[in-house]
Symmetry: C2
Subunit: 290 residues, 2 copies
């Protein structure tokens, strides 16, 4: 009969149970997971009650998830894991646009929209124009690139959080760059907002005296043929919580001035009324061959 | 503005975010969790797709849980975490009965039963008599001790797994020891069984070529005034899978002969028909003062 499982032999016994795993990558991940997870358990020596609380927390986190709510991504976000994974996957030439977290609200497909369209279907908030270009690392414009954008509204909510107030698809858009690699859309200024606090992750933040706020930003996923896609945000310079983002996602290279414009001619050009805010956000992608 | 989050600074940035946590134990646990979790992520460098798969796995695990199914305990079990936590909480005098995992089926309250009662409400299986005493580490019998027992049936299922076939409460019982510290009950022989394989944990076992079986056993929780309770099993000597329990819960000290008895007089004494099996399982508890 096999020897008893002890504090000293536990991790090895579990790692050995994965010996016959066919996929070497899965075996590698599980081996590392068991070693680190057992290291954590040996380090903190949880009581049975603490173990039960952990099981209860993870269960509640899973059960909070729905088609429009992803509490495990939120947990990954507030523990800095999402941002760490992004950072590890983002080793690239200096000039390429930094990535940041996907976040838990990329849960519906953005409606296709045309160059210059508004993504605002409600008309509540300060008008804002976003312009930019998607280019390769050598500056070559990338026509036909996909630019998927989504953002919180002037009250700090995404469409799916208040489907009774805002139609799903509001403040979301899937654009294609023009012949010069440019994109352009009208929207409202995004507001800083709390991540959802009515679930287990919110309780964790409360119990650790952490605030739940994210600084104001617009999400982007840009993808073009022959290039690595990038998942990122543009942050509003001067906004609150830039230094203490609840999900650790701010990168200095992604902060832009949203310039106040009070020129009727420019307003007419973009199809808005003055005064409005304008941000230029160019996105640089790395070729896959490099 | 704060410096960017990097591979090197990530764990520290997250640990620092927990600085204002009031409960020092919670802060200690979260600090260790972040260090080990980030260590794991840095070690395996998951792709974004692998991170998404992990989020999906954890979400599905939570959503598999119900009043009668605890998939996160099952996950903790197959990763050896439950057994490690038990082992860490089980440092005690040599003579005290070893503990083992609670398992995911202690999900309903066992019906109160009297000394000598049968816990078998179905009558399907080989008759078995379980006798034992709950004593303190110095051998003093412990009258009035609680003995909570539950087990799989002759087909390897717990009551809650087939509520259409077996009434909930079948093969469960909550006993109280008599004046001599003894307990006694009739049952059927437990069978080895697979842990539930129709959820994410079952998929994990399949993908790692691990079998899902647990050797035959009866669960016990014994508790007495002035003593540390013990959560344990008695395993059937000679049974299959004793060496490769899917949840790593076998301890050699917990394996007992379930002796075949073909004596009508003994059968009459216990209220069963010969032949039957008999196991004696004494449980030794540690005083809380020690």
């Amino acid at each position: 009969m096999a020897a008893d499982f002890t504090e000293e032999t536990a991790a090895k016994a579990v790692v050995d149970s994965f010996t016959d795993t066919r996929d070497p990558r899965l075996r590698q991940i599980l081996t590392s997971l068991v070693e680190h997870l057992h290291g954590f358990v040996r380090d903190v020596e949880p009581s049975m009650q603490e173990w039960e609380q952990a099981i209860g927390f993870l269960t509640a986190t899973g059960q909070m998830c729905s088609d429009t709510r992803q509490e495990f991504i939120l947990l990954s976000d507030v523990l800095g894991v999402s941002m760490l994974v992004e950072t590890l996957n983002d080793r690239k030439p200096e000039a390429v646009t930094d990535s940041t977290v996907l976040g838990p609200f990329h849960v519906v497909t953005s409606p296709r929209r045309e160059f210059g369209d508004s993504i605002d279907e409600v008309g509540d908030g300060q008008p804002c124009v976003v312009t930019g270009r998607v280019v390769s690392v050598d500056g070559t414009p990338l026509p036909g690139a996909g630019v998927d954008v989504w953002q919180a509204d002037a009250h700090g909510f995404y469409d799916v959080q208040r489907p009774d107030v805002t139609p799903v698809g509001n403040l979301r858009g899937l654009f294609t760059t023009d012949d010069g690699g440019a994109f352009e859309f009208r929207t409202v200024m995004p507001r800083h907002y709390p991540i959802p606090t009515d679930g287990p992750v919110g309780q964790l933040l409360t119990r650790t005296s952490r605030h739940p706020y994210r600084p104001a930003h617009i999400h982007f996923i840009a993808e073009a043929a022959g290039h690595h896609p990038v998942t990122t945000h543009v942050f509003v310079a001067g906004g609150e919580y830039l230094d203490t983002d609840a999900v650790f996602a701010v990168k200095q290279s992604l902060v832009r001035d949203f310039v106040e414009v009070d020129d009727p001619q420019q307003a007419r050009r973009y199809g808005v009324t003055a005064p409005f805010r304008h941000v230029q956000f160019d996105i640089v992608l790395a070729p896959t061959g490099a």
